[in-house]
Amino acid sequence: MAQAQKEFSIIGKRTPRIDAYERVTGQAQYTGDIQLPAMLYARVLRSTVPHAKIVSIDTSKAEKLPGVKAVIHYENAKVPWSSGGHTHQRFIFNNPVRYVGDPVAAVAATDRHIAEDALKLIEVKYEKIPHVLDPNEALKPDAPKIAPNGNLSVGKGAFSAPIEESWGDLETGFKEADRVFEDTYISKHVNNAQLERRVSIAKWDAGKLTVFASTQGVSNARTDIAKDFGLPLSKVRIVCKYMGGGFGNKNQAQDYDYMAVVLAKVTAQPVKLEFTREDDYIGMHGRWSSEQHYKIGVKNDGTITAVSLDAVTNMGAYRKQSGNLSGTDFYNIPNFKKVIKPVHTNTVVAANYRAPAYPQSVFGFASFLDQIAFELGVNPLDMFTRNRAQKAKGKLDFTSNYLEQCILEGSKRIAWSEKWHKPGAAAGPNKHGIGMALGGYPFRPGLGAATVRINPDGTAHVLVGVTDIGTGAKSTMALIASEALGIPLNQIQLTNGDTDVTPYSVGESGSRTTAFTGPAVVAAAEDVRKQIFALAAPKLKSKAEDLDLRDGQVFRKSDPAEKISLGQIVKDSGDLIGRATTNPNFPKEMDGKSFSAHFAEVEVDTWTGHVRITRYVAAHDSGTILNRLAAESQIKGGVVQGIGMAFSEELLIDRVTGIPINPNYRDAKVPTHLEAPEVEVIFVEHFDPYGVFGGKVVGEPPITAAVATIANAIFNATGKRFKELPITPDKIVRAVQV
């Protein structure tokens, strides 16, 4: 896949999204906008207790309510949900229930309100089981057992526990250190909170199942559903054309898709299952909270000699994802060991949320490094520059690494050397502060597929399995096709997100769409260009190898004036079809990452505890930027999500009843227009030899450093270190007034 850098015709420009028109006119059809004839509406009943055996469930009253068509629950719909849990078999309805929010039943009715009314008529008798909400309590030997193997979440392979990683030798590293520091940092459960509530529409036609899903990945959603319902892949069609955000909690197929499938089967009618906002907060998952205990050895100049991390991550009642913490990735650590225990509690499930293992972990590690810099009397800029990642895992080369340039350009833009002062030094109640942190996200290419069709008029049709969750994936694929084909963007039609029509795509998670599907689009374009040149060669009295295609014109490389329009060449050829399945990679002894350095200035009102971000600079190394406009938006947005996590967001669980207290936007305090600063984006742009057109990853990096950057700026303003998220006004007031 290694390619030489070249001049691009459309890559790297500021290009509005190809579907922006549909989105600003209200014509974009999201899953919930789809109406099918005779469609029923479904709602979910959830457990009101954190841990209990269901003794009986009486649905007779609900079934008698006019308009109710079906009620399903653990007794009549025992459907496994394989990707829902990795320590033991999870079903779409479980008995016992293991958290407040665990699905107990689902109702399909002729109207959504009737379905809601019916939920209230279902009588569930619970026999309570002792529960545990705190992950440290859960690890004690006498704690109530949530998973059959206990509360340390031991699954297979990627879901094993504890998660351990090490290199070098800790003992030697700590011996080499002049100083050794130890401390603990805590992050909380926050929800992805995407605007589009979960919704799924299922229908069966003569044994063929179609699910209009709100999923980040149609291919993996199809795999999940086919597996758990025992269907061949050919009998399952997943469609997702427009998607209203997910940030990691709509990947694959989820239990609500399965419930819609079952309800559609038993009623023989299409079923639309909709979540309420509260369902969305408690019924799926958010980011795992963590308690991170660090021991860090440093030289007097700040150079890290060893890091040991012992942590507990709270995965809630089921293990859907890793529970890892990877915030140390952006530093040069010669001797390292981490032991992370993903733990079950009787709380809302935690799994993927944008850069799953990073922002909470970067918060802990970069806050602590900032603190150590303070204790050593080292400027944080020197501390971060000195310890920035130069090799992965202490030894591997990166495919490209411009982290140092990110630090240089970002710190220059924010005028670090003039603005930085001793922590808490400012007089008066309003204190200025400045802070920074490093971030990024792994980059690795992989399996993708694409089809490119050239219509007889010379326009092109690109078919890719990607969904577009807001990243601009559809536009990126069209841009790549335009660049690779030599056909203007406005002559390219793109069809995405339909497993009956579009080829495999990895799914929009792990910032992988461009790196996985992009190379396939390039290869499919090359495939069809060969066919075009074979047709054009006799017409241009030239060898196919001497032909090129640009701006929809085929011409001789040796004599560009000799040209014919593509439409002329293909007009009698039916459709030309180029296709490719690609699986590029780079050598095992290499590592890929996008990098970032973030900088913030804040003003802390020490009387009210209110923090205003007065300036924010985000410098990113993501390789070549394929679409500057959309990429900048991604960076800006990731920072805003980080602001929410830093200042206000936390899913609160009542300590006695286990009931989530604030499962809604207002009380979970998602940032609004008023909290969002202007985010200045710098791209330190360099071609990565393994990226498609030199690009690495963009979607997840921007959230990773944001939380720590803000926390460090607050430290610089107040001289107080906040070791627990979120950093709310009350915590600030209490700290500064002591």
Partner: protein, 205 residues
């Protein structure tokens, strides 16, 4: 709401609304009688559907629609499910996120928090009503140009709040634009872009 009523003749419906919603208002409307029954405890069997539907005339994007709705149906639901105007999104259905924002009598309002039966005689503008034929409204053009939509789910609401602001104040400052949009959440965090788009649209007015 007080502003809306100024200068309007007092219809039976707005009178009923004035005396209270909930069980009493609902029961009275569905039977056409005003009864002074005590409000009853909520019972799923007798709520909503059992009480039947009420005809209501909606004026949306300059067109008049006659629809039959349950009293519990919100304007957002009726726009989407009955009129097929699905550009108006429902993000929270509880008046927090603003995805359902439409313009009612010149003001941006959450259509999830307005009952359809309250809408008789009101002028409703949704995102579908902004363009004049093929010509987009300047705010829509600006949202395209400034990358206003990421996932796009909040976009209609952002645009309608921006439009309502520009109707009142053709030259907003940046701070006024932020405040004007502050009832519209964007979890993609695209706030810079949305404000920039509103300010750019203002320049073309």
């Amino acid at each position: 709401m007080a502003d809306d009523r100024k200068g309007m003749k007092l219809s039976r419906r707005s009178f009923l609304k004035g005396i209270g919603g909930g069980a009493l208002g609902g029961a009275a409307l569905s039977t056409g009688l005003i009864q002074s029954e005590p409000a009853q405890a909520y019972s799923p069997e007798t709520s909503g559907a059992a009480r039947g539907k009420t005809p209501v005339t909606l004026k949306v994007n300059g067109k008049t629609y006659r629809v039959e709705v349950e009293h519990r149906n919100t304007l957002a639901e009726v726009l989407r499910d009955e009129l097929g105007l699905t550009g108006t999104k429902i993000g929270c259905d509880r008046g927090e996120c603003g995805a359902c924002t439409v313009i009612i009598n010149g003001r941006n309002m959450y259509s999830c928090s307005q009952l359809a039966v309250w809408m008789e005689g009101k002028d409703i503008l949704t995102v579908e009503g902004l363009a004049k034929g093929d010509k987009l409204d300047p705010i829509q053009e600006a949202f395209i140009e400034h990358d206003g939509p990421q996932c796009g789910f909040c976009t209609s609401g952002q645009i309608m709040s921006g439009k309502a602001l520009l109707l009142k104040n053709a030259k907003p400052t940046e701070a006024q634009a932020r405040r004007g949009l502050s009832g519209n959440l964007c979890r993609c965090g695209n706030y810079n872009r949305e404000v920039a788009a509103v300010l750019a649209a203002a320049k073309t007015l």
